[in-house]
């Protein structure tokens, strides 16, 4: 009394690509060192060029 076997479609593979877009917000302005270092280097370069230009 077992019913006949019959083929059924398999569930297709489906990827979750939206999850890859989940990112932390930028913490750049919340962290001390990288921002300040960058500023002081550009400040130095600017100052240096400014000094060079005046001469």
């Amino acid at each position: 009394l077992t019913p006949d076997m019959e083929p059924i479609p398999c569930k297709p593979l489906f990827f979750d690509l939206a999850m890859n877009y989940l990112e932390m917000p930028s913490l750049e302005d919340k962290l001390e060192s990288p921002g300040k270092k960058g500023a002081s280097i550009t400040g130095f370069v600017k100052g240096f060029l400014g000094w060079g230009g005046n001469k």
Binding site: P9, P12, L13, F14, F15, D16, L17, A18, M19, N20, Y21, L22, E23, M24, P25, L27, K30, L31, E32
Partner: protein, 170 residues
């Protein structure tokens, strides 16, 4: 008084540096603890609130993340995060509503991708197929193969319906 402000600022800065460190190591349980230290002294810090939502989601705590978004009235800003939680909590109609009612034109890429996955779960395969064709045409990232696999899944589902034509998959 000013000393107190200084202590608070120092604490927040140190905690943010921890959040940054743990998140880049994908240690989100530790990152949540660091975020909680910030929220303990600055409960309205929007960046910290956002961080907490992302960490909870990375930990697959979608129900908690969703409630946290609503409790902190971030419905209007964290559209993607809110809709993604709803998608994972199997509230597809609500997820679609969240995305569409945000009224963003044009829809940012991440919301387009999510909306298309929601359409798949809602079995709106024809609309889903068109959406994938559009995304594939306009994107060039490392997930092209996965996206084409999804497109094939949509086509396979359409092919099961005897009333519909089997679409051409580009």
């Amino acid at each position: 008084m000013s000393k107190e402000t200084n202590t608070k600022e120092a604490l927040v800065k140190a905690a943010y540096s921890d959040v940054n460190k743990f998140a880049s190591n994908q240690e989100y349980d530790k990152a949540v603890k660091a975020v909680n230290r910030i929220l303990g002294v600055a409960p309205d810090d929007q960046t910290a609130l956002h961080c907490k939502v992302v960490c909870l989601m990375q930990l697959s705590k979608f129900d908690e993340a969703h409630k946290f978004i609503e409790k902190n009235r971030m419905n209007g800003t964290l559209i993607f995060e809110k809709a993604y939680c709803e998608y994972r909590l199997n509230k597809q109609l609500q997820a679609l509503k969240t995305i569409d009612e945000a009224g963003m034109q044009p829809l940012p890429d991440k919301l387009k991708e999510l909306r298309t996955q929601v359409l798949y779960r809602l079995e709106k395969y024809e609309e889903c197929l068109e959406a994938y064709k559009d995304i594939i045409k306009n994107s060039s990232d490392e997930y092209e193969d996965e996206r084409r696999t999804n497109l094939s899944a949509v086509a396979a589902n359409l092919a099961l319906d005897p009333n519909k034509d089997v679409p051409d998959v580009p």
